[in-house]
């Protein structure tokens, strides 16, 4: 890639060097110092989670500023995962409360993946109908649906809770998943926008061959849309995985609560005056791990898709 970045006018080199990118200038030094500070502030809390999670909760108080784990132990993870006995946990400064992490993890996985799969498939199907098929009233219906973008979640949360209650969906996965899983204005808008830009030639060829709209959708449009579908899937998954408010309203039973709620539960069971910070950080790390792994696997795609989703 050609480096088009040029240093500021102040940095006109006395001796021309070959590698312009490495050329020193005060502006460049300031820029890198700034970036260094940003990276430090971004990453430090992540390190601090790890450092605290590997510390002994009692000894944390004696040496709170140590950059390394204080009294290194896996105890916090054992407490959270319920491997340690209550007595052991309390001896380490825990409340004795454990987090049945397997259940919360399962719930988070079900919630985030089912909702993502559902919304992406349904949005793609609807986007296809709104972009490639021709029918009367198409744009009107689309504009009505897209008006949902204007309604902030704060406004639908309470009535949706009442509705879920009326429908008997409290403490069910259906109640957790359906409100956000059938329709998301953003996903529909985003995928339609992409499909509008696809060339019609391929489709026409398929029509000539006698392929019906459904066949065209599954065999031609869907494969051609795989990149934006991946983008939407990632964004939807991150959203659902991190969702807190809706699960808080809809799920007060452990059997359906996702990890985000589990952290709150764990925190509340820990004494106010002397919280089990090591345990909390261990739990936070476990809750964040799937996202961090996803990021390791798809980091570049996620990074590129953010810009893409913004430009539309």
């Amino acid at each position: 890639m050609a480096v088009t970045v040029a240093p500021g006018p102040a940095a006109v080199p006395r001796r021309p060097t070959r590698n312009t990118a490495r050329r020193f200038s005060p502006g460049r030094a300031v820029a890198w110092t700034y970036l260094g500070a940003i990276v430090l502030v971004t990453l430090f809390p992540f390190y601090w989670i790890l450092r605290t999670a590997l510390s002994n909760n009692y000894q944390l108080a004696t040496n709170p500023s140590s950059p390394l784990p204080v009294g290194f132990t896996w105890g916090a993870f054992e407490r959270v995962l319920g491997i340690a006995s209550t007595a052991e946990a309390q001896a380490q400064g825990g409340s004795g409360a454990t987090l049945d992490i397997a259940i919360y993890l399962r719930n988070s996985l079900i919630y985030a993946s089912v909702q993502t799969a559902l919304i992406v498939l349904l949005s793609a199907a609807a986007a296809y109908a709104f972009s490639r098929l021709h029918w009367r009233g198409r744009d009107l219906v689309f504009n009505i649906l897209i008006s949902a973008l204007m309604v902030p979640s704060v406004f639908t949360l309470l009535p949706n809770f009442v509705l879920a209650k009326d429908l008997g969906l409290i403490n069910t996965f259906a109640g957790l998943i359906l409100p956000g899983g059938l329709f998301q204005a953003f996903a529909l808008f985003f995928l339609r926008q992409f499909m509008l830009g696809l060339s019609t030639e391929v489709e026409e060829a398929a029509i000539i061959d006698g392929a019906g709209p459904l066949r065209i959708f599954f065999r031609i449009i869907l494969p051609m849309t795989s990149a934006p579908i991946a983008t939407v899937s990632l964004l939807m998954f991150v959203n659902a995985w991190n969702d807190y408010f809706w699960p808080l309203l809809i799920a007060d039973d452990q059997s359906v609560q996702p990890l985000t709620l589990a952290l709150g539960v764990f925190k509340q069971s820990s004494p106010q005056a002397a919280p089990d910070w090591a345990g909390l950080m261990a739990a936070a790390l476990i809750a964040a791990l799937p996202m961090l792994l996803l990021f390791l696997a798809f980091g570049k795609r996620i990074v590129n898709s953010i810009g893409f989703s913004g430009l539309k």
Partner: protein
């Protein structure tokens, strides 16, 4: 299958015009000459397709329409209705007319909440946008590293709950690393979440930390659309870096910046998770943001009617703010066009 492999473009930047030759051969069943049929098909395509498309289209949009009707449209109307009622969940709502709205106007806690929320929004927007903009510009000028861009995005990927927890731990008055450092440097520590003056700035800082990378990447993508020749021209005219930033970068980025500001405003007005995890609105209502107050009214005092009224007020406020912003910023226009 050729069709499938065609779909795997690596970059989602622009819809690629399909290569008709390749696909046509795969979909065409062997032994059929498309030419005559093609001519007839193109002639009658629109009319025939329209008739054939409608039922399929209705089938395909059905789930989305149901989802919209059941979970967006109906709740919106019902929310408006409930705001005119006295509703405590267990018994059916009673129509009380404007009573909730009258209560709203006399409710000091509500106005305080509004003030606190606006304060939070202002801090988040000003600092969030400024830091994201500077970060994006600096990144764009000195490096193309996607690793670095990935690193700043990390906080966006974790939940608000985790972000709030780790910052509450780092800002802890006695054991928190930030306070230990502060005490070292200034001699005293700060009750970040325990003092009225610091609660909202602390929450805003967490929010900025969480969203900065995301917004920086949006702005970064906008920067990539600005042609380098514009800067070259500026340089030829003898403009300094600061001048080019002010006269070229910022005006050309206006549509993206407006989007970032609008998104930040909409998100910040609805802040809840980080408040619920850290201060729960305290101390003494100092961080009782609107969303928190609504939640407490509805789920602690079960006053759903009044909570709905406050939601409606917040909704109206959001619409007004967003429209004003778009108006003021002439969002649709870019100086590039």
């Amino acid at each position: 299958m050729v069709v499938t492999s065609q779909g795997n473009h690596a970059t989602p930047v622009k819809p690629r015009s399909g290569e008709p030759g390749a696909v046509a051969t795969t979909v065409t069943s062997p032994g059929r000459g498309p030419t005559r049929k093609a001519r007839r098909a193109t002639a009658t395509r629109s009319a025939a397709a329209r008739r054939r498309d409608l039922p399929v289209a209705l089938l395909l949009i059905l789930p989305a329409v149901v989802g919209f009707a059941v979970f967006y449209a109906y709740p919106t109307l019902r929310g408006i209705y409930l705001s005119f009622t006295d509703f405590h969940v267990l018994s059916p709502p009673n129509w009380v007319g404007l009573a909730n709205f009258r209560e709203l106007f006399g409710d000091d806690v509500f106005w305080h909440s509004l003030l606190v929320t606006v304060y939070f929004v202002l801090l988040s927007v000003v600092f969030g946008t400024a830091i994201s903009l500077v970060t994006a510009v600096v990144l764009h000028r000195v490096t193309r590293s996607s690793v670095l861009r990935g690193v700043i995005l990390l906080p966006f990927l974790i939940s608000n709950v985790i972000a709030a927890l780790v910052w509450q731990w780092m800002l802890d008055p006695t054991l928190g690393i930030v306070n230990i450092a502060l005490k070292h440097l200034t001699g005293h520590s700060v009750l970040f979440f325990g003092s009225g003056g610091w609660a909202i700035p602390s929450l805003a800082a967490i929010s900025v930390w969480k969203w900065m990378g995301y917004y920086a990447l949006l702005i970064f993508a906008g920067l990539q659309t600005i042609p380098a020749t514009i800067y070259e021209a500026g340089r030829v005219d003898g403009a300094s870096e600061a001048q080019m930033f002010r006269r070229l970068t910022v005006p050309l980025l206006r549509p993206i910046l407006v989007m970032v500001v609008v998104l930040t405003v909409i998100n910040s007005f609805q802040v809840f998770d980080i408040v619920q995890v850290t201060t729960e609105g305290g101390p003494a209502n100092a961080s009782n943001v609107l969303q928190m107050y609504i939640y407490r009214k509805a789920f602690r005092q079960f006053d759903f009617g009044y909570a709905a009224t406050m939601s409606l007020a917040l909704f109206a406020l959001l619409i007004a703010v967003t429209f004003t912003q778009l108006r003021l910023a002439r969002a649709g226009e870019s100086d590039l066009n």
